[in-house]
């Protein structure tokens, strides 16, 4: 069966959505059935795939609606999406109040692996109820880390939270890996951060790096993943490598 990957990091703007959208697109293009579940009220993964949530959304998934009703095809073959919308922000408050609410998503996605080889949960920038629900539902956590100082600081806190969720909610949760993003090879700052992350986390760090590439930032404004927007860009090429390595680590 398939695997569920939570794409999480409480630090904002590190490339969670960009990674979820582009990894799913590469895997779908190579023939794998892939699903993106947008768990961020900002709904960036939804618009990054050229969609909007009219009607049902990931909010309904948390409220117990069957996945089959909510996952819908995108214009990209093999790539389905459960879209998000701003109302999801309300779920954060509601989830925080109910006992055992962190398990709702896990129950809703219990059989996702029968229809999809890869499921990506795009998390908001926090360690609140939506991210905890995603960690409770996932087999693996993939952590994008921007090659900058502030992003480095939060890593220990995130690894601690993953361990907490594993011991309390989801014993099968493993760290799939740490992915270095927006690596500007011209700056000393980026190479210092890359070196420090590799020294600290060793094999957990993907060999593939995602360089800073303006094509990756332009693609979402066209509702396209990089491989559809500019297949020959360094950003698109980097996510092919990451996808290959993810399959190796699967």
């Amino acid at each position: 069966g398939g695997r569920i990957y939570a794409i999480a990091n409480q630090k904002g703007g590190v490339g969670k959505t960009t990674t979820a959208v582009n990894l799913a697109a590469c895997l779908a293009e190579s023939g794998e059935r892939a699903l993106v579940v947008d768990l961020d009220p900002q709904a960036n993964a939804t618009s990054g795939l050229g969609e909007t949530a009219n009607g049902r959304s990931s909010y309904d998934l948390l409220a117990g609606h069957p996945l089959a009703d909510l996952a819908r095809p995108t214009r990209f073959p093999n790539l389905d999406l459960v879209p998000s919308k701003p109302a999801l922000a309300g779920a954060t408050v509601e989830l925080g109040r109910e006992e055992g609410a962190e398990r709702y998503l896990s129950e809703a996605l219990a059989h996702a692996g029968d229809s999809y080889s890869f499921v990506f949960l795009d998390c908001p920038p926090s360690l609140g109820p939506l991210t905890v629900s995603a960690l409770a539902a996932a087999d693996r956590v993939l952590v994008p880390v921007q090659a900058e100082y502030y992003a480095l600081e939060g890593l220990a806190q995130l690894v601690h939270s993953v361990n907490l969720v594993r011991s309390r909610l989801n014993p099968r949760l493993q760290l799939a890996g740490i992915l270095l993003t927006m690596v500007d090879s011209r700056t000393r700052l980026a190479s210092d951060v890359v070196k420090e992350v590799r020294e600290h986390f060793g094999d957990l760090v993907f060999r593939a790096l995602v360089p800073r590439s303006v094509r990756l930032a332009e693609a979402p404004s066209h509702g396209l993943p990089a491989i559809a927007y500019d297949p020959r860009s360094t950003g698109a090429e980097a996510y092919w490598k990451v996808a290959m390595e993810l399959v190796e680590r699967h």
Copy 2:
């Protein structure tokens, strides 16, 4: 008396912390009494000023401890800080459960304007209880917007939330302005976003732009604002201009 500015945007990584730290540093350097209150459990503003929260923190401010006990001097004259630490993440859950908890911060900061001309509240990347508390306590909201597509998308949602807080919690809350950050003048994406934001929000948008400048990303790893790390950098110069314009709009 002084004014309290919430630096808010639920989109992650748009330059909230960088703006809070550098604006406060410029104003302090020019002789104004400035205070930074770090309301993000990631505590980036705290480390960006070269501090750590041993003991008391902004968590205690929300729990009713007097500001005078919690605000402490930094190595920069005229610049004080209420530091943050990861335990603040727990406050989010606690605040969400108590009636009227959004007003705790506003009460704690009621007389901050007597000791400081400028108070900056650095918010986490969400519209949850910590950011709502900050909006309830603030006179003005300053919204950093990265010159990229995803950051543009969330603006309408944020302006809607600000209006909601003004009508329900804090009638004096006004939008101080929208600040365009990480503007890479070489890319068409940035100039498109700048043009769209100016067309949409007119005079609300600061004339001054903050360019993408690696010195701004390097400075926090030394625990220094840009004007202390590299006073002749374009990043430092940009924040001087923003500070001047903020004083004009004060």
